[in-house]
């Protein structure tokens, strides 16, 4: 029983990290109907910035994380402005935006792997917290695990506050519901979109930093799988819905870890994507989403 609980805890940690990424995906999709492929790579950049903060820049770790979040939110806004907005202005078909998103993702990955940027190597992230473990009944809990859980909870609470209790959050929800109507009501849609990107990217960066602390290895292509899995989580929970993204991530985290622990590690990724395909086929609106009729 203890072992099972320990595995659940492992799954929780993973799921929480995915949650921070998934929320960004879902917000951007909600507002733009765009799958921002590059989101996983913002996660990677965040992880690297945290890594540099811990090592070369000698920052205290909370500061390193905040720096990563700040820089990545700018990165997110930059991506939107340079790559997605021109297409939006032109009224280009959704596929063009998706292909562009793929291009941006590639660009960030390969550009980062150039020697003068991050370089292509796998880097070991040094310990920033002294090793501390506690015995809780039969399971071992580390301080890093506690940190991850606590940080994610705080950030999600913050997000909920912003989205549901501030004016800009209201504007975000309005634009997600009907962009044209929002514009008619006087909302600066472009500004709101930029803000959404900034917010989502900051959270992805935080996810990256936490990931680097929990699974201490960074490299330029580390964002691909977590990005896709987080996206799966968002779709599972209902794309466009923030609580959906959270629920989906928790489920994905558990499924992944419990499969690895009790079935086999071999098919870990395959199972995750099988879930994705099944959800898309049988309940495309996800667990918490609403079915949307296709507008002609």
């Amino acid at each position: 029983m203890d072992q099972f609980l320990a595995q659940v805890l492992n799954g929780l940690q993973l799921g929480f990290v995915y949650a921070l990424i998934a929320v960004g995906y879902t917000m951007i999709y909600g507002i733009l109907k765009l799958i921002n492929f590059a989101h996983g790579d913002v996660f990677m950049v965040g992880a690297f910035l945290a890594y540099f903060g811990f090592t070369a820049w000698h920052l205290p770790w909370p500061v390193a994380i905040l720096v990563a979040m700040a820089v990545c939110s700018l990165l997110g806004v930059g991506i939107e402005r340079l790559a997605y907005r021109p297409l939006r202005v032109k009224g280009a078909p959704k596929i063009a935006a998706l292909i562009t998103a793929i291009g941006v993702s590639f660009f960030i990955e390969y550009f980062s792997s150039l020697d003068f940027v991050f370089g292509p190597d796998y880097r070991l992230v040094p310990r920033v917290l002294p090793d501390q473990r506690w015995q809780l009944g039969g399971i071992v809990v580390t301080n890093v695990q506690v940190l991850v859980l606590a940080t994610v909870l705080v950030l999600v609470a913050l997000l909920q506050y912003i989205v549901y209790r501030t004016k800009v959050g209201k504007a975000m929800r309005a634009v997600a519901q009907d962009a044209d109507a929002a514009r008619l009501m006087g909302i600066d849609v472009d500004r709101v979109i930029a803000f959404t990107f900034a917010l989502g990217s900051a959270l992805a960066a935080a996810a990256g930093a936490l990931f680097a602390m929990a699974y201490p290895q960074v490299h330029p292509f580390m964002g691909i799988m977590p990005g896709l899995k987080a996206f799966t989580a968002a779709v599972l929970g209902g794309i466009g819905s923030i609580p959906g993204a959270l629920l989906g991530s928790l489920i994905m985290g558990q499924v992944e870890v419990l499969t690895a622990a009790y079935v086999t590690t071999d098919f870990r990724d395959a199972i995750a994507f099988s879930i994705l395909i099944l959800v898309l086929l049988f309940r495309p609106s996800g667990l918490l989403g609403k079915t949307e009729p296709e507008k002609v």
Binding site: L124, P216, M225
Partner: protein, 381 residues
């Protein structure tokens, strides 16, 4: 149909110009000899390749970049530790550059991938450090005549580690973790298991993972629950560091043993301190060949050599010696000369190749120290 024809015509013009302008640069001329070097200069095996190349360069320098009266031209390829990339590079070296011999690769999987090409094109190939048995042997056990290596093989390492565990550490319950996509880790794991069980031990956990995994928490929770006395982690320095950390996180504070893959300046010394591994080289070895090499290496690069540098140096030295004795750049002649090598005084020991293209050598057992150095424990035969 006519649109296709016009398109194809346009394209063929393109193709012809490209081909015409890039005729093969020809093989070894009358006064030069081309040797190819393939290894990981980037990627997860990077430090091995970088070290090996340094050793190779030192050997070249000592030979004055000449052998048998000809100037040596080294053609370098970075395979990134990837088998497909290694095959592409080797194919290019064999068809376009026309190399007379190949030094490479450094890790087992890419080396196995290109070993077939050596036989196909009848060009001798020697690897300094690829330890998997399949490097020089086909699946049916027959030898690949053009392939040699300068190091011991995986079964030897795994066996040595198991004997140490049973004999010196006195442990009875082992957990073995290996990468199912990496012939090297599989070879080591299997020979460890065989010897460990023969010595009366029990393998309580036999766990595979995938090369892409970063999250070992699930596996480690399971392994820890089985209460092993020792962990055998025969993977590369990066992966081993992750696994060891996950093990410590789950409260598993037992001795850890590994293979020559641990030999790297990028190993997580803090987490792995106290762990043991089998290696090819120790600077604390008093033999003359070792001390001379270490001194020259230090003089040229200002740092100490590791196993991979020593073996890179040996591989190049063995090759040059064979080319001298062969007296020609013909592949078969060099191959024959390599096979007949007797008691060559290498840094790694006195080298003669057996019928499988492997040298008969000893290994050293080292212990990881928290300050980033290794302590020499013993020789293993």
């Amino acid at each position: 149909m006519k649109r296709m024809l016009a398109g194809l015509l346009a394209v063929s013009v393109f193709a012809l110009t490209a081909c015409g302008g890039a005729a093969p640069t020809g093989g070894s001329g009358s006064d030069t000899i081309k040797i190819g070097w393939i290894g990981p200069l980037s990627g997860e095996a990077k430090t091995y390749g970088v070290s090996a190349k340094m050793g190779v360069d030192l050997a070249l320098e000592e030979a004055g970049s000449m052998v048998g009266g000809k100037k040596i031209v080294l053609v370098v390829g970075d395979d990134r530790g990837d088998s497909t990339e290694a095959v592409n590079i080797a194919t290019r070296m064999l068809t376009q550059d026309g190399v007379s011999a190949i030094l490479g690769s450094v890790t087992s999987d890419p080396t196995i991938a290109i070993s077939g090409l050596a036989d196909s094109y009848k060009v001798p190939m020697i690897t300094g450090t690829a330890t998997a048995t399949k490097v020089t042997l086909n699946e049916d056990g027959s030898r690949k005549p053009f392939v040699f290596r300068a190091c011991f093989i995986d079964p030897f390492q795994g066996t040595a580690a198991a004997r140490f565990a049973v004999g010196e550490l006195g442990v009875k319950r082992a957990a073995v973790l290996y990468d199912k996509g990496n012939a090297y880790t599989i070879g080591l794991a299997e020979s460890f298991r065989e010897t460990f069980e023969a010595g009366g031990g029990e393998i309580v956990a036999w766990q595979s993972y995938s090369g892409d995994d970063t999250d070992f928490s699930a596996i480690m929770t399971n392994v820890a629950a089985l209460k092993p006395d020792v962990l055998y982690l025969p993977d590369y320095y990066g992966r081993v560091s992750l696994i060891a950390k996950a093990a410590k996180d789950k409260g598993l504070d037992v001795p850890m043993i590994g293979g020559d893959g641990w030999d790297s300046p990028d190993l997580d010394f803090a987490t792995l301190a106290g762990g043991y591994f089998t290696a090819h080289y120790s600077e604390q070895d008093t033999r003359e060949a070792v001390q001379n090499f270490a001194q020259q290496f230090q003089a040229k690069y200002g740092e100490k050599p590791d196993s991979f540098a020593a073996l890179g140096y040996d591989a190049m030295s063995l090759l040059l010696d064979a080319i001298e004795r062969a007296g020609s750049t013909d592949g078969e002649a060099i191959r024959a000369a390599l096979q007949s090598t007797q008691d060559f005084p290498a840094v790694g020991g006195s080298i003669s190749f057996d019928e499988n293209g492997n040298p008969i050598k000893f290994a050293v057992l080292l212990q990881v120290q928290a300050d980033g150095t290794y302590k020499y424990i013993t020789n293993v035969n």
